[in-house]
């Protein structure tokens, strides 16, 4: 096992704990935006697609890379916009019509 792999595994382990920690703070009300938001984040696979297509030197790699790039872009763009569209809708009560139990 080389050093860089050990470092990568360390990062992975920390990311798991960090992930659970951060996500446990998200209220159930926002679970759908959380899913589409994380959907957007896994669009980061676009970085892999760019590397494959950008460095492709034969037609097989170009085809694979092209499809991967298209899918990943759709993932990033769609994931972000749909999350933004959803979050825009969440609004608080404009002015209290009457004093109800505060949460």
């Amino acid at each position: 096992m080389n050093l860089s792999l050990v470092i990568e595994l360390t990062i992975l382990a920390l990311a798991i704990f960090l992930g659970f920690e951060v996500i446990s703070k998200v209220p159930a009300m926002l679970h759908t935006p959380l899913m589409s938001g994380t959907n957007f984040i896994h669009g980061i696979v676009i970085v892999g697609a760019i590397i494959v297509l950008g460095e492709a030197n034969d037609s097989f790699l170009k085809v694979i890379g092209f499809v991967a790039m298209t899918l990943a872009t759709a993932n990033v763009v769609g994931g972000w916009f749909v999350t933004d569209r959803m979050l825009e809708m969440f609004k608080k009560r404009p002015e209290p019509k009457k004093e109800s139990t505060e949460t």
Binding site: M1, I11, L12, A15, G19, K25, V26, P27, A28, M29, L30, H31, T32, P33, L34, M35, S36, G37, T38, F40, I41, H42, G43, I44, V45, I46, V47, G48, I50, I51, V52, L53, G54, F60, K62, I64, G65, F66, V67, A68, T70, L71, T73, A74, N75, V77, G78, G79, W80, F81, D84, M86, L87, M89, F90, K91, K92, K97, K98, T103
Partner: protein
């Protein structure tokens, strides 16, 4: 194009670190609807940084192809994100899971192709994992999409020996993966692995009933995250490892939460096929114990609502299908003007994905502080004058509390039956998505208002205005 960053330099790693921090803030800001939107913007900035710094890497070419692919992807993503109805959100999320998983699997295939001389063990393990999980996620998501979009039957699709067959397919896939790690370096072995993984993806989602979709979608979300993370190991790319894992953790957590909200284990959801239990349960309404269902009229309901002190609205997917959210909000506002305390009770699995009902109501301009989660609202039902159940079914079924033979036994439910009076708005006496009868309808305090949810609510609004 001038390459500004060499692949081995520290600069790229630092830029990726900035992206990772942006993503963490994006998730952190989701802790409250107040600043959640800002968080998404921060995440967007992070993504732009990661993409542009990758494009500046030394050795990146094929610009024409990159641009065309990006344009197609952007067009598809934009149109999808703009056009999608909020009711169709689960399909959309399933689709994005699928394309992300597909992209991860393709990157793995490409890296395997490049490494003609064979891969080091780590690289081969991660390539296999990325191809395997990515393919399962891709195929599974497409089936989930098909089910939610009703292109494929939402009912569980089963055949004899299904579980054994599925396990055999999975074992075959894993065996191929092991042989690849052990040093077999044949392109076709990996292709076969991908083919089997795709088959498994289809097989594992097919038998899952529509009511279990929230669990499946969360799980597929986790899968795509894990696939992206594995791709990160293939490419020794930290931003992929961390971002993928954040999604993996989030998806896993939501999967467990959803399973808990239905009082079932994840294994049971995936391999138990709700359908088998359901086949044993009755399909018609059991009225043999002498209790009958009582129907009511909008006028009666309007009077009850107008003179109530506290009304709790229990929205279900039926309300969303009828597109009645906006009218429900109007009705609630009308009642509030009359001094009635109106709240919404949201069950964790209301809708077709975690948190789905909240989004649907937010779209209808219902303020989010009026939405109460199950644990918060349940103690309030005994003080509630009228519980108005609109298109919700299984999540209100008291059988879940006491009937050990019921398929939903043990599932936490909204205690609607504890309210002084219950009005159920329903299209017909057909059982809900899980295919089970609801004994709430036979309770003495329950009356039924039959008809399309939207029509009924519109009639209610008119009647409330009269009173």
């Amino acid at each position: 194009m001038i390459a500004l960053i060499s692949p081995g330099s520290n600069l790229i790693g630092l830029l990726y670190l900035v992206t990772i921090i942006c993503f963490i803030f994006a998730l952190r800001f989701l802790s409250s609807p107040k600043h959640a939107r800002r968080g998404n913007w921060i995440g967007g900035v992070g993504m732009v940084i990661a993409i542009s710094s990758t494009l500046l890497l030394d050795g990146i070419g094929n610009w024409a192809l990159l641009v065309v692919a990006a344009l197609i992807g952007t067009a598809v993503g934009l149109v999808g994100a703009r056009k999608v109805k909020m009711t169709a959100m689960p399909q959309m999320v399933a689709l994005f899971n699928g394309v992300g998983g597909g992209a991860a699997a393709l990157v793995a295939l490409a890296e395997f192709h490049i490494a003609t001389g064979g891969l080091a063990t780590t690289a081969s393990v991660s390539t296999v994992l990325s191809a395997l999980i990515g393919s399962i996620s891709f195929a599974g998501s497409l089936v989930a999409f098909g089910k939610l979009q009703e292109l494929v039957s939402g009912r569980p699709i089963t055949f004899p020996g299904q579980n054994i067959f599925n396990v055999a397919v999975l074992l075959g896939t894993v065996a191929l993966g092991v042989s690849l790690v052990a040093g077999v370096h044949d392109q076709w072995v990996l292709w076969l692995l991908v083919a089997l993984a795709l088959l498994f993806g289809v097989l594992f989602v097919l038998p899952i009933g529509g009511a279990d979709m929230p669990v499946v979608i969360s799980l597929l979300n986790a899968f795509t995250g894990l696939a992206a993370s594995a791709t990160g190991f293939v490419l020794s790319n930290t931003v992929l490892i961390v971002a993928g894992m954040l999604v993996g953790a989030s998806g896993t957590m939501l999967t467990l939460l959803m399973a808990k909200a239905m009082n079932r284990s994840v294994t049971n959801v995936l391999f138990g096929a709700f359908g088998q239990v359901q086949a044993g349960a009755g399909t018609g309404m059991r009225t043999d114990d002498g209790r009958t269902v009582r129907a009511t009229t909008p006028e009666d309901v309007a009077v009850q609502l107008s003179f109530a002190r506290k009304v709790v609205i229990v929205p279900g997917y039926g309300m969303a299908v009828a597109q009645a959210q906006h009218d429900v909000r109007q009705l609630a506002e009308l009642l509030e003007e009359k001094g009635v305390d109106v709240q919404y009770a949201i069950h964790p699995v209301a809708g077709r994905m975690p948190g789905h009902m909240n989004v649907l109501l937010a779209e209808a301009n219902v303020p989010y502080d009026a939405l109460k989660e199950m644990d918060e609202i349940n103690p309030e039902f005994p003080q509630t004058d009228v519980a108005l159940v609109i298109g919700a079914n299984d999540v209100t079924n008291p059988a879940a509390r006491h009937d050990t033979s019921s398929p939903i036994y043990g599932m936490p439910i909204l205690d609607v039956d504890k309210a002084a009076s219950v009005i159920v708005m329903k299209r017909s006496m057909n059982p809900g998505f899980a295919g089970i009868d609801n004994e709430l309808y036979l309770e003495p305090q329950t009356t039924m208002l039959f008809g399309d949810a939207k029509d009924s609510v519109v009639k209610l609004i008119a009647a409330v205005k009269q009173t």
